[in-house]
């Protein structure tokens, strides 16, 4: 390793191990437990590369990419019951949770990038967790279809979205407990658990991912968001921290540039 200017330390690496020996300086970086990064060798310094920070993937635009019109109707109707609106705080629809879910399902999460989906597939015990062959996107697609076909039979050809509030709650409860069984290989409890978890994710995650609109869910509970330093507040026991919530992209009220 040659001496380097300490102010300009660069990643030094050799592709494919010492025997390959072909130095390269421009291989795409990959981070995260995602698979597919290039093998590298590091020796002689802390490798730091400019412009490589692994910033979060911001959701852009406002169009839906995953849900069909029918699916979107279902999702809006369902999350509106999971977290309904009132004066206390936003409902999931107001918080843009359906949009959050759409973009999550259109991306790596929807593809099941962190799920093992290989066979053989068996139902297993509840303690063995998720055992379906479906990726999350496939599960949403199949479950929405199966739930609408369930309500069509049970409620005189109505889709889930067309039901009244208490009927919607009854159906959701039936999915949650597994009292309702669905066609198409869909485990109702597994789908409900995923839908509820993802709904709360969209409600409480950083707005950069498309939900938690205006940080209203954070305001409701009093969470200041991606705040960096609370040192001065550690021993101010019992006092309300007066900071309004802040997200990765700042907050309203910051001065325009």
């Amino acid at each position: 390793m040659t001496k380097q200017n300490p102010g300009f330390a660069r990643r030094s690496f050799v592709l494919g191990g010492a025997m390959i020996g072909a130095a390269t300086a421009a291989a795409a970086t990959i981070r995260d437990g995602e698979l597919g990064a290039q093998p590298r060798s590091y020796r002689g310094s802390m490798p730091v590369q400019e412009g490589a920070a692994d910033a979060p993937p911001e959701v852009r635009g406002s169009n839906f990419k995953f849900f069909t019109a029918e699916e979107r109707e279902f999702i809006e109707a369902a999350v509106d019951r999971l977290i309904p609106p009132d004066a206390v705080g936003p409902g999931a629809v107001e918080a843009d949770v359906p949009f959050f879910l759409d973009r999550q399902l259109a991306g790596p999460f929807g593809r099941g990038d962190h799920y093992y989906l290989g066979g053989p597939w068996k139902e297993g015990a509840p303690e063995q967790g998720y055992q379906l062959r479906f990726s999350p996107a496939q599960l949403y697609r199949a479950a929405i279809k199966a739930i609408n076909s369930h309500t069509s039979v049970q409620f005189n050809k109505a889709s889930f979205a067309q039901l009244g509030g208490s009927d919607k709650d009854r159906v959701l409860k039936g999915l949650e407990t597994g009292d309702i069984t669905l066609d198409g290989g869909v485990n109702a409890r597994a789908f409900f658990a995923m839908l509820l978890q993802n709904t709360k994710e969209g409600y409480f995650s950083d707005p950069i991912y498309g939900g938690n609109k205006d940080m209203a869910a954070w305001k409701m509970i009093g969470f200041p968001g991606a705040h960096y330093d609370y040192s001065e507040w550690v021993e101010r026991h019992g006092e309300r921290v007066p900071y309004p919530p802040v997200a990765f992209k700042g907050r309203p009220g910051w001065r325009e540039a």
Partner: protein, 589 residues
């Protein structure tokens, strides 16, 4: 066909805490050391800068820093009568990957085990009778190493991390403000304890009012800036509340990145290769010696890496799997009780009590991974177990590691999980509630073990590891007793209400519990009861060393990392002093 590479003195399989510490020690002794890590490189400014580190969705729920199980996982079941199925999504434990591994996204909770924890079998037998260690099919053992032998190595890890805390037992003298039950420490903690927020403070007052002995949790989130013996500087923690599951952008949490790598990476006799997965350890035909390891990189190229010594540092689950895949040692059979590799897999028996106030603002988002006030009165053998029907215990912690709202939303008993009532409860209780954590021991028992799955295979065609585990009766009794003691403290805080979350039913892979998996490659004083000796050296293949919590014969009621590190330093010291001069078994059976 594997390409044969230039030999090295020592190869590390996996590169988290153990790989980093062992590499640093051996490089300083002049050896050529190679680290092979199956995940990517990671450094603070690139992967978890302060501008975006505090992201609950990405790191906790989308597993951004965790092992991706999509092409390699393990199979799980509760007992021998079940068919094991793949863990298709992380849940109960969050496995690390990449450089630094779990050391990047841990909480930084730094504990020493009690002196009696290293003699679980002999100590409890002597005090409570012969059956105390065999009831409920327990298979607990002594470690073959003592607290006194490890003390200076615990101290070395404290000094590496800059651990914040207050000694309770300094060279045998009990000091107020620390843990009066701990083993004697040769030195004070390098940095003072963290300041305590409201919740832990209330817990400490209530515990003291009941005659317990509260003290600040020791940890690797630093109360002040610190330069460690390797010259690495850590910064003062800002209590941002994003430690476990997250990397620290502030250089305030001890990790291989903050405490070892800046030193190690500059050494010319060290090399680190990432995206390189070791498939197996290669042995001589007589299986008495390892010749090196075969690995495949992410480009699909296969290599044979010759090495004089092979160090397994790939977390316990992968260490045990590599031993089994490489034919080192005899696999454990729970039906006959014969064999040792995979034996005594244990976990941690967690329960908790949530506390809800009307009149107190707790501000749970002001937190840190090891920010807690703790009582250790009911851990290990710190209390008389006579007539209780169990051994072991737990520490009880009034702990506020953060207020991440998706994960840490406590609602009172009977609150539905959704609907207006849930929302109102969340709005009402978020600022006014916190958690008392009960960090219980896990005693090994006959039916809990690791072996190779007969059905499921990874992308390389290797059998996955199969985990057979359930909580045993000893641990349920312990956990219930400890939860009772915790509820007493909770009620002494005069809250509006409390909620007990007792350990009930079979172990489930779904809810997060801890990433404290232990055993399977256990240490001991002879080859009839253990896979490795006190220097982490394989009894069967003496140039193979298995590091990590796989060495634990059972899991005490503390977080494992400091003991994992102390065992690594202890092994390194003896390898350098003795093995390098005369390679071969360091303990003669």
């Amino acid at each position: 066909m594997a390409t044969t590479l230039k030999p090295v003195d020592a190869v590390m399989v996996g590169f988290g805490w153990t790989g980093a510490i062992m590499s640093q020690q051996l490089c300083d002794a002049g050896l050529n050391v190679l680290g092979l890590e199956r995940g990517p490189w990671r450094d603070t400014p690139t992967e978890f800068a302060t501008g975006f580190a505090q992201d609950e969705l990405r790191y906790m729920w989308r597993h951004h820093l965790f092992q991706n199980v999509s092409d390699d996982t393990l199979t799980i079941r509760n007992n021998l009568n079940q068919e094991a199925l793949p863990m298709r999504h992380l849940g109960s434990f969050l496995l690390g990957t990449g450089v630094g591994s779990g050391g990047v996204h841990w909480n930084g909770q730094i504990w020493r085990f009690l002196p009696s924890d290293f003699q679980t079998k002999s100590h409890n037998q002597e005090r409570y009778g012969k059956n105390a260690v065999t009831d409920y099919d327990l298979t607990v053992q002594d470690w073959g190493v003592t607290y006194d032998e490890l003390e200076l190595h615990y101290d070395a890890f404290d000094k590496l991390c800059g651990t914040s805390g207050k000694a309770g037992n300094l060279r045998g003298i009990i000091h107020s403000g620390g843990n009066p039950f701990e083993g004697p420490r040769s030195d004070e903690y390098p940095t003072p304890p963290m300041k305590q927020t409201y919740g832990p403070t209330l817990f400490g007052q209530a515990a003291a009012s009941l005659g317990r002995h509260p003290f600040p949790h020791p940890g690797g989130n630093l109360s002040q800036s610190y330069v460690n013996p390797l010259g690495c500087q850590l910064g003062k923690c800002t209590y941002c509340g994003f430690c476990e599951k997250f990397g620290c952008g502030n250089y305030s949490k001890a990790s291989p990145q903050t405490t070892v790598l800046p030193y190690l990476m500059r050494k010319s006799n060290f090399e680190l290769r990432t995206e390189c997965e070791v498939l197996r350890i290669e042995l001589t035909p007589d299986k008495k010696r390892a010749t090196g390891v075969t690995y495949v990189n992410s480009a699909g190229e296969e290599f044979f890496q010759p090495a004089e010594m092979v160090f397994l540092g790939a977390y316990i689950l992968h260490n045990v799997r590599l031993l089994l895949l490489s034919g080192i040692g005899q696999p454990y059979d729970p039906r006959t009780g014969e064999g040792l590799v995979g034996k005594n897999y244990a976990y941690q028996t967690m329960s908790s009590v949530n506390v809800f106030f009307d009149d107190k603002i707790i501000n749970p988002f002001i937190g840190a991974g090891a920010l807690a006030t703790v009582v250790d009165d009911f851990n290990g053998d710190n209390f008389d177990h006579s007539g209780l029907g169990f051994i072991g215990g737990a520490y009880i912690a009034g702990m506020v590691t953060g207020g991440r709202p998706i994960e840490m939303m406590y609602t009172p008993k009977g609150t539905p999980a959704w609907g207006l009532e849930w929302k109102h409860s969340a709005a009402k209780n978020y600022l006014r509630s916190f958690n008392l954590s009960i960090h219980g021991s896990s005693m090994s028992s006959r039916g809990n073990y690791l072996d190779l799955d007969p059905t499921y295979r990874d992308v390389f065609g290797r059998p996955m590891l199969r985990m057979t585990f359930d909580f045993n009766e000893n641990d349920f009794k312990m956990s219930n007793y400890l939860t009772d003691r915790t509820a007493e403290i909770a009620r002494a805080m005069n809250p509006r209400e409390i909620k007990e979350n007792r350990r009930k039913g079979s172990w489930s892979v779904v809810p997060y519990q801890t990433t404290h998996n232990t055993g399977g490659a256990i240490m001991g004083d002879n080859p009839q009861n253990s896979v490795i000796n006190k220097y982490l050296q394989s009894w069967d293949v003496p140039n193979v060393f298995s590091m990590g919590a796989g060495a634990f014969p059972q899991n005490p009621g503390y977080n494992p990392t400091a003991t994992v590190a102390a065992l690594t330093y202890h092994a390194a010291q003896h390898i350098i002093a003795r093995y390098l001069k005369a390679p071969g078994p360091m303990v003669h059976a």
